[in-house]
Assembly symmetry: C2
DNA sequence: AATTCTAGTAAGGGCTCTTGCCTGGAAAGC
DNA sequence: GCTTTCCAGGCAAGAGCCCTTACTAGAATT
């Protein structure tokens, strides 16, 4: 019924209003007009439309006396029904689930250690604690307004970080040759999907950690994750490059320089140095950090070999080191990289505390906002 | 004076009209309305505005009798003044310059062989032949409508392909360690810039060849250029990934498997096999193509080593082989790639004749169209 | 109590786009 | 040769969105 061309203008105005409220939490109509750059009547119309659609709500708050001496204004903000998103991190160290809102605030959080054979059930427990029971498990008891924090029922979407390679098509964790397989076979998309009303995005922890680094490292860099597992993420034009199946950056098998200067797969270097954990393909971080200088030099050269390949194929302007032991060996890696035919600046990561979760959270907020703005 | 919000609608309509005319060459107002999905009055208004701005012109043609029996319509098309773009290819085999219009047609073309020590002057000659003299060299004689084909004077922009690594910042050709340096030190941006009225984009031939392959190879693939020089381009999400300085894919120095199975830089493999040209870092393609089966297997394994690195870091879904000898060794390379821990499908390139020029031409047309639509 | 300042509303106008109708002229059919 | 059919193009009317201007309401200041 409405004209498609004019719809565009109107929806553009509404989008700007929503974005302004995501940034500023609460605004009066007059403030909205100034912030978005539209006239007061237009702002008022947009607020009316969005309130009707249930996306905005009068907070009941009024402009405080202190500010001006004129008429009081009504503060509007996003309606609680715009909902929340779920960010989940699955790592050998533990499982974390966070419920975030469109402002980027964490409204609920649950965390638990994990035993290798109980990843799936721990994941279910943690998500239940943060996001409430699945749809199937709760129809009877909950009928009132909604969950604990009054911030809507089920999250509208989920973003999951897993500490193993993820097949982008299926969302399942896959076992690649010679890679440590830390979490094990798991289908996070199916498990988490039961708790949310919309899509579930799954990717490996390294890619999310790189995304978290984006704010401080610019638009073109490579993120080397050096911890129990080994990974790499290439960020180009501000986006993490995942490749056709999402397996870009699984560098465990990449050829590099070994202890005796011969070419070996990256992960094999740690086997030859005796730094792999008993009965596992994972690296023993504690012993690695305690290693002597010559061992550190060997590792630095091996990492530099990986850097050389990344520089050759992707030409990142910067190498960022993350993971449990990457930043600790910064100087050894820097020295070895400086000897390469095409050196590159090397820097430690700036996001230390749960970088993968930070990246997943940021992506969850971004997707939630896009969902809200898109209309549903 | 006009309202910014309504400007948006109007310009959107005008852009659609321009794009429709780029696809269909000539259309009546009524055809435009149907094609763009707007009403006849709106189409008529847009044509009036665009004609006023000099972007559209009545061709003088009228609807042919055969088509319908109603009133004759007036055909409109892009005005000649929207101008042309220049696509240039600089390779050891020769220099080519083409002038293309917004329809993607080549309106003039010049080609010449090149001697290593005369690249700059040959380049100048070829561009002069295709695009006319530089601004400085012609003020007096030309005052009439314009150049030879009546298709506007100087090209509005240029896209240059050079068969050597290109620094994206400066546009200059750079010499990387162990890479063949075929064209030599040159500043195409400065030379070609004198002939065009706008920006000059310079990139290496491999990236342009990969762009030409995009139509047939999808959005995620790696293009291996195996000819006198060695190069690689990673295409992700439909875009050629150039990296921070534009040096992504300069694989000559990448470690791979050598003749004796030891790790050596890619280009070194050909030195060890005695397949480099006398006194040069370039590969002797003729002798390579005449090599025996065991040599071909060695080369196949070496290429597979490069593929392994590309698969590891970029996860392309497909490997495309181009260059003078790449497709010829398809079976050897396929066999070696099949033995990798993470194999990938390998295919020969589909663009054979001057693939780099094809890609540069396509980019020149796209940029010219964007320039026209953007308004100037 | 008067003044001052601000949030919000109302009215009017400009612009774009749409629908519907009219016109002129060429081809098709008698 | 005349009439009918058909269609490009133009005009008129109307709707929607946004903007500007002007006004009202209400609270703090003076």
């Amino acid at each position: 019924m409405a004209k498609p061309a004019l719809d565009l203008l109107r929806s553009r105005t509404d989008e700007h209003v929503l974005h302004a409220l995501m940034r500023h939490r609460r605004l009066t109509r007059a403030e909205l007009a100034a912030e978005v750059g539209i006239s007061k009547p237009t702002a008022g119309e947009s607020v009316r439309r969005l309130t009707e659609r249930g996306l905005l709500a009068d907070t009941g708050e009024r402009t405080p006396g202190g500010r001006g001496r004129g008429r009081v204004g009504s503060y509007y903000s996003l309606a609680p029904s715009v909902g929340t998103a779920l960010a989940v991190s699955i790592a050998p160290e533990g499982v974390v689930a966070e419920v975030v809102d469109a402002y980027g605030d964490t409204v609920r959080r649950a965390e638990r250690p994990v035993r290798p054979d109980q990843v799936a059930s721990t994941l279910r427990d943690v998500v239940t604690e943060a996001a409430g029971p699945t749809e199937a498990a709760r129809p009877a008891e909950v009928a009132g307004p909604v969950g604990p924090a009054g911030r809507g029922g089920r999250p509208r979407l989920a973003v999951v970080s897993a500490a193993d390679p993820v097949d982008r098509g299926t969302g399942r964790l896959v076992h690649l040759p010679d890679s440590p397989f830390l979490v094990g076979d798991l289908d996070p998309m199916a498990i988490v999907g039961a708790y949310v009303g919309g899509p579930v995005v799954v990717d490996n922890d390294v890619n999310w950690a790189a995304r978290a680094e984006r704010e401080n490292a610019g638009d073109e860099f490579a993120y080397l994750f050096l911890g129990r597992g080994l990974g790499c993420a290439i960020v180009g034009a501000g986006e993490v490059r995942r490749g056709s199946a999402g397996l870009a950056g699984e560098i465990a098998h990449l050829l590099t320089v070994g202890p005796d200067r011969r070419a070996v797969p990256f992960v094999e270097v740690f086997a030859q140095l005796g730094l792999r954990q008993e009965g596992s393909t994972a690296i023993d971080v504690e012993r690695l950090l305690a290693a002597d200088e010559s061992t550190r030099q060997v590792i630095g050269r091996a990492v530099a070999g990986v850097v050389a390949a990344a520089v050759t194929l992707a030409d990142p302007g910067l190498i960022v080191l993350g993971g449990a032991w990457g930043p600790a060996l910064l100087e050894n890696i820097r020295a070895a990289v400086a000897d390469l035919p095409r050196p590159a600046p090397v820097r430690p990561a700036t996001a230390f505390a749960q970088p993968a979760l930070s990246g997943a959270r940021a992506d969850a907020v971004e997707r939630l906002r896009a969902t809200v703005v898109a209309g549903a």
